[in-house]
């Protein structure tokens, strides 16, 4: 073992050489070469659909390359299966985490290789002890006996990472690891990545968040139209430069400059005529929200700030009628609506772009046209719901939104789950825009979409507000929250902790969110003690 180690020090963990991959006539990867060194964090950037996922699937062995070579730690693994590569130390931490929620952390870590006693009986005690030792070795904050389903996203990620490490992983591929983490959890993850680096493990880090990438990675490669650009060194590049490398050539020349955070708007909301688009008074739910009250004027964008778990998404769902036990009152354009029933909210012209678009936003196995029409079935059928669907009208309306949102798809009959994240999100937007909403509730509308789709989406939100739609925007990206919102309500512990009309900068906002969250937690502790 140790004999070959001397020459191995300089040897990269993995090198992919001149990889080509086509699906049918569609060339997805052409002549891509990627090298990840020992202890290197190599960031992989690219728009949705550029070929990042395909490249990674070729790397871990889900797809086999049409030509090219993959060398893992000195060994040619090109012809090996996924299974064989995993045995040789390749591991992918998936975006949709594959932790088994019904099992404990320890059980998850030792799935399929549980320690045995008497030859066949699973030795639970030893398993937990082994798990604790493992957790300690890498210095994670994790309870080996906890049920994985009860953990937050960051801790589930830790379980995934530990599982890979305990199986001797040398190379970890992390796909959008921060997309569902809170600010604090992100810090933990970054520390973990640094630890991995220190222990000589190679990391391929896929992300849409430029700031994270610049801060974390040793080198940056960009996938664009199936080719690889780079690697770049983070010290020698900037967000604007990367964005310009990634962006579609057909798009406008001012693309890179637009993604820079605009200075926060100095807010001076002129009193608007008429009833507010949305007014919420005394809204409470059994478990989470207490006495929420606010208004959104027509054409106003109100941001909801707060940490994950503060009650922002619950508030969105409560307004939209997804939570049955609510008290209080909600009115749209001055007209009160019945609480707790989604069809009533839809009828009142509220639309919700939910946080989890795969689970909540789209019916994955049905066509885009069907998903698009789902919010307005009565309006898009003859005889207002009693006659057949007006397929022609659906098609022409779909075509309009397709070009309006620059949605990339094969056509209205394409199945929704085949689209990339950003395009899926555009379909979710389109299905609500087609209802001509008065109020749009957007829960993390740009999470997990690439930088150009993100820009499209933000422009769209501004445009809709300009047309008079009242927008409630939830976003964990503070820069986005500041760029778009006229006002920001900070939610903490199920209450509105403060209203911000003017914010200095992102750091200031981040501090305020944390302060409010801590204050609420403290308050609850005191209440509990009393």
């Amino acid at each position: 073992m140790t004999g070959s180690q001397t020459s191995g020090a300089a040897r990269p963990i993995v090198s992919m050489e001149r990889i080509q991959k086509s699906f049918g006539e569609n060339r997805v990867l052409s002549d891509v070469s990627l090298v990840v060194e020992r202890g290197e964090t190599h960031a992989l950037l690219g728009e949705n659909g550029a070929g990042k996922s395909t490249l990674m699937k070729v790397l871990i062995g889900v797809y086999s390359a049409d030509s090219g070579r993959i060398v893992l730690d000195g060994e040619d693994v090109t012809g090996l299966s996924l299974r064989e590569r995993v045995d040789r130390g390749v591991a992918m931490i998936f975006q949709e985490l594959s932790v088994l929620p019904n099992l404990s952390v320890a059980e998850n870590l030792f799935v399929l290789r549980e320690p045995r006693s008497l030859g066949w009986r699973v030795d639970m005690r030893r398993m937990i002890a082994d798990a604790r030792a493992l957790i300690e070795r890498y210095g994670f904050e994790l309870d080996a006996a906890a049920r994985a389903g009860d953990l937050g996203f960051a801790q589930r990620q830790m379980v995934e990472i530990l599982k890979a490490l305990s199986r001797g992983a040398k190379l970890l591929v992390m796909d959008e690891p921060t997309s569902s983490l809170t600010a604090r959890e992100e810090e933990t993850l970054f520390t973990i990545v640094d630890q991995l680096k220190a222990s000589g493990i190679g990391v391929v880090y896929i992300s849409h968040r430029m700031a994270d990438v610049l801060r974390l990675s040793d080198r940056i490669s960009i996938v664009k139209d199936g080719r690889l650009i780079g690697p770049l060194l983070p010290g020698e590049t900037s967000i604007a430069h990367i964005a310009s490398l990634m962006s579609r050539p057909a798009e406008g020349e001012d693309a890179p400059s637009r993604i820079k955070a605009e200075p926060p708007k100095s807010v001076a909301i002129a009193p608007r005529a008429g009833a507010p688009a949305l007014s919420v008074t005394g809204l409470s739910t059994a478990h989470k929200l207490s006495n929420i009250a606010f208004e959104i004027a027509a054409g106003e964008i109100v941001g909801l700030g707060g940490l994950v778990g503060s009650g922002r998404s619950t508030l969105a769902k409560a307004i939209f009628g997804l939570i049955p036990d609510v008290s209080g009152a909600i009115a749209v354009a001055g007209r009160p609506i019945q609480l707790g029933i989604v069809p009533h909210a839809v009828e009142a012209k509220i639309g919700l772009v939910p946080e989890d678009r795969r689970r909540e936003g789209l019916v994955g196995n049905r066509s885009l046209a069907e998903n698009f029409a789902l919010t307005n079935l009565a309006g898009l059928s003859l005889g207002h719901g009693f006659g057949p669907m007006a397929t022609g009208r659906i098609a022409s309306l779909f075509a309009r939104y397709r070009s309006d949102l620059s949605l990339m798809c094969r056509g209205p009959q394409q199945v929704a789950q085949e689209l990339s994240g950003g395009n899926q999100q555009k379909v979710v937007f389109a299905k609500w825009l087609a209802t001509s909403p008065r109020v749009l509730i957007l829960d993390e509308p740009t999470s997990g979409v690439d930088i150009n789709a993100k820009r499209d989406m933000r422009d769209l939100i501004k445009r809709k507000a300009a047309e008079g739609v009242g927008v409630l925007l939830i976003s964990s990206e503070l820069e986005e929250l500041m760029e778009l919102s006229d006002r920001i309500l900070v939610v903490a512990g199920g209450r509105i902790a403060r209203t911000l009309e003017r914010i200095e900068d992102e750091a200031h906002l981040r501090t305020l969110l944390q302060i409010d969250a801590d204050r609420r937690a403290e308050f609850h502790e005191k209440e509990g003690a009393a």
Binding site: V28, L322, V342
Partner: protein, 315 residues
């Protein structure tokens, strides 16, 4: 990425996969035409369609339930019970046209109860309808102490089985009419879109304003209606209500729906497919009979072919 993955190649592969059962169907029919005497005749065709009608009618209702992501195991015993009920209604002097309407209403009610138990009491449909299967096969046997009741009303028998309409035998007419109605409801009306969305992703459907509970209840009501219709067709065929007429039919019905390309997990399916699936099972049974296999061996061969067809058609 997946978007780029399958333009031209995908549609062709999809087409082949979607229609492979029809290929098997054609091959088996061809086999019977070559090896079974007089198989390719109008008489055979109409005999098969007649035999198939009952399963077809139930499969149309079942398609709504399965596409919505649920299952209805009770259709066979609901059919038995409906046959008994209509016979008893005539026995107690109900007018010709009142009895069937009452029985259909009863079928709808049974479906509604199943649907409410599934959606509001949150009991899995497998268990609810397994219970219903037991309840109604038991009731069908109890009401008359397991004795059949003869039906003397000739108009009833004519409408549901023996007669013909526009030169077509009644059971074939029923199949056609219900196929058309089912097709219109599932593939044309907004209601159908809700059924597909509910089965495809109930959460996203709810987030889009679909009342998924209502959609499921409606699907069970439709299945209850088609099961009671099929029960009356069975009763008309034997001009009697017999408590075990529909026993075991649910298996053929579910097999027909799945062979027809409907996903057992919901969200994907077709009415015409289900009817073709039913006809496939009919041809298989009839052909094996004509070839001269014993009934017990027939069942074995039929089961094996159904498994083969379904495994090739899996979604």
């Amino acid at each position: 990425m997946t978007t780029l993955a399958s333009p031209a190649r995908g549609s062709l592969a999809n087409f082949a996969r979607d229609h492979i059962t029809y290929g098997i169907f054609a091959l088996i029919t061809l086999y019977f035409i070559v090896f079974a005497p007089n198989f390719a005749s109008l008489a055979t065709a109409s005999a098969v369609l007649r035999i198939t009608a009952i399963v077809s009618v139930m499969a149309i209702g079942m398609t709504f339930v399965i596409v919505s992501g649920e299952i209805d195991l009770s259709v066979g015993s609901v059919a038995s019970f409906a046959g008994m009920a209509v016979a008893m209604l005539y026995d107690s002097g109900a007018p010709t046209f009142v009895a069937p309407v009452a029985v259909i209403a009863m079928g709808a009610l049974i479906g509604a109860v199943s649907g409410l138990l599934v959606t509001k009491a949150r009991i899995p449909s497998f268990l609810v309808t397994l219970g219903m299967l037991s309840i109604f096969s038991g009731l069908a046997l109890t009401v008359t102490d397991t004795r059949p009741i003869p039906i003397l009303d000739d108009t009833f028998s004519a409408i549901f089985w023996n007669g013909s309409f526009l030169g077509m035998q009644a059971p074939i007419m029923w199949t056609l009419a219900l196929t058309a109605i089912g097709y219109y409801m599932l593939h044309q009306l907004p209601f159908g879109r809700r059924v597909f969305a509910t089965g495809g992703n109930p959460v996203a459907a709810r987030f889009s304003g679909v009342r998924t509970d209502g959609v499921k209840i409606a699907a069970f009501v439709i299945s209850g209606v088609t099961a009671s219709l099929a029960g009356m067709m069975l009763a008309a065929r034997s001009t009697a209500g017999n408590p075990s007429l529909g026993a075991g039919l649910e298996l053929d019905v579910i097999a027909a729906v799945i062979i027809g390309g409907t996903s057992l997990f919901g969200g994907y399916g077709s009415i015409v497919g289900s009817v073709i699936g039913a006809i496939f099972i009919g041809i298989l049974g009839f052909g094996l009979l004509v070839i001269g296999l014993s009934t017990s061996i027939q069942e074995v061969v039929k089961g094996a072919i159904i498994i083969l067809a379904v495994s090739l058609n899996r979604r």
